[in-house]
Amino acid sequence: MSRCRWSAPALLLISAMAAASPAQDYVMNCRGCHGEGAEGVPGKVPPLAHTLVQFMRSPAGRSYVLRVPGASNSMLSDAQLAAVLNWIAGNFGREQLPESAPPFSLPEVAATRRMPMVSVQATRREVLKELAASGSAPREGY
């Protein structure tokens, strides 16, 4: 896993590999359900703001994020998916980014994204339990 820090050059590099801005990719592929502020819809759509960054803390959490249907099945290329996830993390919760949560890299996305997930809810619960045992974790309910 890449150990590079969250730096402008790193974000820029990943952005440049994609065809358009991550902000626009968020609008076209995520905002419809997750909302303008990535706040989600209580009980229906999980939030990404201040939450995605917490999943990025652990390998299981990162794998979950990349394999969630909304990410995995989206029409974004691997590079675009990496860029938009990193944009969400930076834009909605940057202050919570721990050092152990590097940006998503293209190889990581390519290797993980297409592994099918059996049950999204069950996997989410497992990941949250594991995160909670080692630090901060998103709430189970939303």
């Binding site: 994609a18 905002r31 359900c33």
Partner: protein, 192 residues
């Protein structure tokens, strides 16, 4: 909300929407020849008013200007109560502008859908591509006026974020479908 309409407004529009996985680009499906915006033909208003007053058991009038499907139907309207309005390039449902709202606001007493699907449309008036969000207005029964059904780049239910059949009020507490708006979010970015 987005459904077939028995007064079926068929228009082949130039729809700027993403088509490929690898590029974000506002693609013009069919480039409009000329940027002429025609005022809404009187017959459209008459038919729509007639359609609005029909009860469920009445025999509806035949659809207005029913061009052969898929023919390059280049009528573009600047009337937000017309299915041919440029912002409505992939709208399916009743136009809120005919129901007490506007093209981008819900009628009084309804609630805005929490989720939506988002696309791009080309505005021939200024030659730009805009990102629009198709939200539903919820919590009241079917408005019944100005039913439109345009499906450029629309896809079946397994591609949910490009589907206009599902009731986008589903995530609302009051999930009854009343009408649909198309809200400009901003300019669509061009491919680099």
């Amino acid at each position: 909300m987005h459904r077939l309409d028995r007064i079926f407004e068929k228009s082949s529009r130039s729809l700027a929407q993403r088509t490929s996985r690898r590029s974000f680009v506002a693609v013009l499906g069919q480039v409009l020849t000329g940027s002429l915006l025609l005022p809404l033909l009187p017959i459209d208003r008459v038919n729509r008013a007639a359609a609005a007053s029909l009860g469920p058991d009445a025999t509806p009038a035949p659809p207005p200007h029913q061009s052969p499907a898929g023919a390059a139907h280049k009528i573009v309207s600047d009337d937000p109560q017309s299915c041919d309005y440029w912002k409505y390039c992939a709208i399916d449902g009743f136009l809120c502008s005919c129901c007490g709202g506007s093209s981008h606001s819900c009628p009084p007493g309804t609630s805005m859908s929490a989720i939506a699907w988002i696309g791009t449309c080309h505005n021939p008036g200024d030659g730009r591509d805009y990102v629009v969000t198709y939200n539903d207005c919820c919590g009241k029964t079917s408005c019944g006026n100005c039913g439109c059904n345009r499906n450029e780049r629309e896809r079946p239910l397994y591609r949910l974020l490009r589907n206009n059949d599902i009731n986008w009020c589903v995530a609302n507490a009051d999930s009854n479908y009343h009408c649909t708006v198309s809200v400009i979010l901003g300019l669509a970015e061009k491919d680099q």
